[in-house]
Amino acid sequence: MSVQPMNPFFREIKEPVELTMTGNYAVAGGVTQTDPDVICAFPITPQTQSVEGLSDVVNHGRLKAAFVNVESELAACAYSTAACAAGARTFTATASQGLLLMTEALPMAPGWRVPLTMLISARAFNSPNLSIWNSWEFTLLSSFGWNCIVSENVQETYDASIIASRIAEDTLFPTQFVHDGFIISHSAQKFFAIPDEDVLKYTPKKPRHHVNTKRPGTWGSIITPDYFMEARLALELEKRTVLDKMEAAFREFEKITGRAYHLIETYNLDNPSKTVCITMGSMAGNILTWMQNNKDIGLIKLRAWRPFPAEQLRKIIEEHNIEKIFVLEKDDDLSGQLPPVASSISSSLMGLPVILRSFIVGLGGRDVTKDEIEFAAKKMKDVKDNQGRLYDYLGVRESKGKLWEAKF
């Protein structure tokens, strides 16, 4: 009904301004402000409006960028990587099956060290049935050398759309930023937009390596066993510097906006039960509201997912003498091992005397409410060691009138 969702971004934003937009449109706004040269993506629910919004601002004339339509996500990823290698600031976006279709092209951007940015509007994979709703598909498929940060709400995902560009260019590794599909992508929330001038100062287009006709080179050629490992080690060594650069990018961002972000954010760690919940994304908000009246547990919210902030996490757990950890995650691996988030956590904490469990919740868009949080917090009181299976599903119907009971 004649609503123009991108309206606020059709003109220059001169002052910090409070807006109400959905997560996807807010991302389109943030990306607009970083002045990308190329936007190339293939629409998929629940990411579509982010790219639609960008096509609006390009069509309107506010953003002078090439908006490129392609025939698939694989093409989108290949095209974006190449555009970025040619020197263009490039944005793409996807989710779920689209991310799967991209996989063939995903490792090339880190390999070429091109600072591509990508929104993932997290959604379930189709298995056993089609679900367009939220799960964390990206945890099973992330990395390949990509950086990845995760946002809790619309403010954070808008900010991430700007910060990701800075992180990508400072580290010269492609960077994904994730928000929960529908829960954030389709929710309208109030957030503060940053003036254009500040965004441009924060994300300057610095000269960087790129395909250059004046300086020909072989990009993506074959390398023999004599060289491949050295090439991989070179990437790895560079990758080890990413977390420091991310933290620096967050610090710079705070200077401009006053909004403080960290690789890991913590709440109420020194609690009587010495128990913390670890999670990321929109669920952190659910837990924080619940914690207003429940001070018995703490929360560790992961913002950096790749690289995983292992050392930082270990330090926090040690310093606060945390005894029990429970993870709430929206993914499963059907492998009998810990699901992806708990896997990363447990390998970071090897040897520490902590008790760990993971609860799989919220798959395929199921809401995560105080019922799940309360159940998990209570269950942890009975858990005394790391014996047996370390994870289970929570908030699941077993049969009519009966809920599946998480057993450890």
Binding site: M1, S2, V3, Q4, N7, T20, P128, N129, W133, E152, N153, V154, D180, F182, I183, I184, H186, S187, A188, Q189, K190, S282, M283, G285, N286, L288, T289, W290, Q292, G365, R366, D367, V368, T369, K370, D371, G395, V396, R397, E398, S399, K400, G401, K402, L403
Partner: protein, 326 residues
């Protein structure tokens, strides 16, 4: 954080409508009009024309109270844009005692009370407004989402002021439409009748009336009936689209006139809901009718139907036409 803010109430609102009626926009306008942190989200389904949708709004001066990204389970305010929903969905689910149910309807209060009584709502106040007629008069079309906000404002002046609502509408619509909406909203308070709850029930902004695990809906058909591949075989479960009455979504339905049908099959391919019924006659598949339980009245089949000339009058007739349901 100041103590005042910590004490700030949390307002929870739910809108019920059908896809296309603007329940999601209504929620967004609420969030925009409120002076403070606000979030809103739709129920996440396929929002197709006519399908039941709901949207949720959380408002509080204290950000931490609305930081949660959960849906709303115990609203103090519920607004219903389409009274046919009262029989299809439990619009009063989880409502806080003393809360307000605002309905766009021309039915009398007794009838409304009777319909909602089957869901055993707590003691709530009910406000009725015939927004459809106001919308038709002022906007020229049956879009009532801004008007229902006017009615909500009458029962809940604590949420936002008429000026704040105007600003939100001006932000969201082009100036001409915004002005029409504002003109219409002005007549809403007088056209809204409030029927207070029995007894003196005090509304609570603190208590959460969510029934434990209600979001998992333990009473739905179980998963024991699933086959290995996540399949519901029809001989075991009467599931899938068989139970989804998409026919209830539309205002019109396709009607089949066999005498004009040339069996070209065009309609079969364009129907998005597989509603063109076919049967094998003399070893050939023939179009025989329309599945009214599922036909949502999109009109695709009518558009592609060539039909043929009437033998007597010589006039050309389509074998499929749209008829209004009453």
């Amino acid at each position: 954080m100041s103590d005042d803010i910590k004490k700030a109430p949390r307002y929870l609102i739910r809108f019920h409508g059908r896809g296309g009626q603007g329940a999601v926009t209504a929620a967004q306008l609420c969030a925009m009009a409120f002076n403070g942190p606000a979030t809103c989200m739709p129920t996440f389904g396929a929002e197709r024309m006519g399908s039941p949708v709901a949207s949720f709004v959380k408002l509080s001066k204290d950000f931490e109270k609305v930081r949660t990204n959960e849906q709303v389970y115990s609203p103090q305010y519920v607004a219903v844009l389409d009274d046919t929903l009262l029989s299809d969905v439990d619009c009063t689910a989880g409502m806080v005692p003393g809360g307000y149910l605002v309905i766009n309807t021309c039915r009398p209060i007794e009838e409304v009370r009777e319909i909602i009584s089957k869901n055993n709502p707590p003691a709530i106040n009910i406000a009725l407004i015939d927004a459809t007629n106001i919308a038709l008069e002022y906007l020229g079309r049956n879009i009532t989402n801004t008007l229902i906000l006017g009615a909500l404002l009458k029962v809940a002046p604590e949420l936002f002021t008429i000026e704040q609502l105007s600003d939100a509408i001006a932000d969201q619509f082009n100036p001409k439409i915004a002005q029409k909406n504002m003109d219409a909203i002005k007549v809403v308070p007088d056209a809204t009748t409030v029927y207070p709850a029995d007894g003196d029930v005090k509304i609570s902004y603190e208590t959460d009336y969510k029934k434990q695990w209600s979001h998992v809906k333990p009473d739905l058909i179980g998963v024991k009936e699933w086959d290995l591949a996540g399949v519901w075989y029809v001989d075991k479960v009467d599931g899938g689209s068989k139970r989804v009455n998409t026919g209830a979504w539309g205002v019109s339905v396709a009607q089949y006139h066999p005498e004009y049908c040339i069996q070209c099959g065009n309609c079969v391919f364009v129907c998005p809901d597989f509603c063109i019924l076919r049967e094998e006659v003399d070893g050939k598949w023939q179009v025989v009718g329309v599945d009214e339980f599922h036909c949502k009245g999109c009109g695709n089949c009518v558009a592609v139907c060539p039909g043929k000339k009437d033998k007597e009058t010589g006039e050309k007739h389509k074998a499929l036409t749209m008829v209004m349901k009453c």
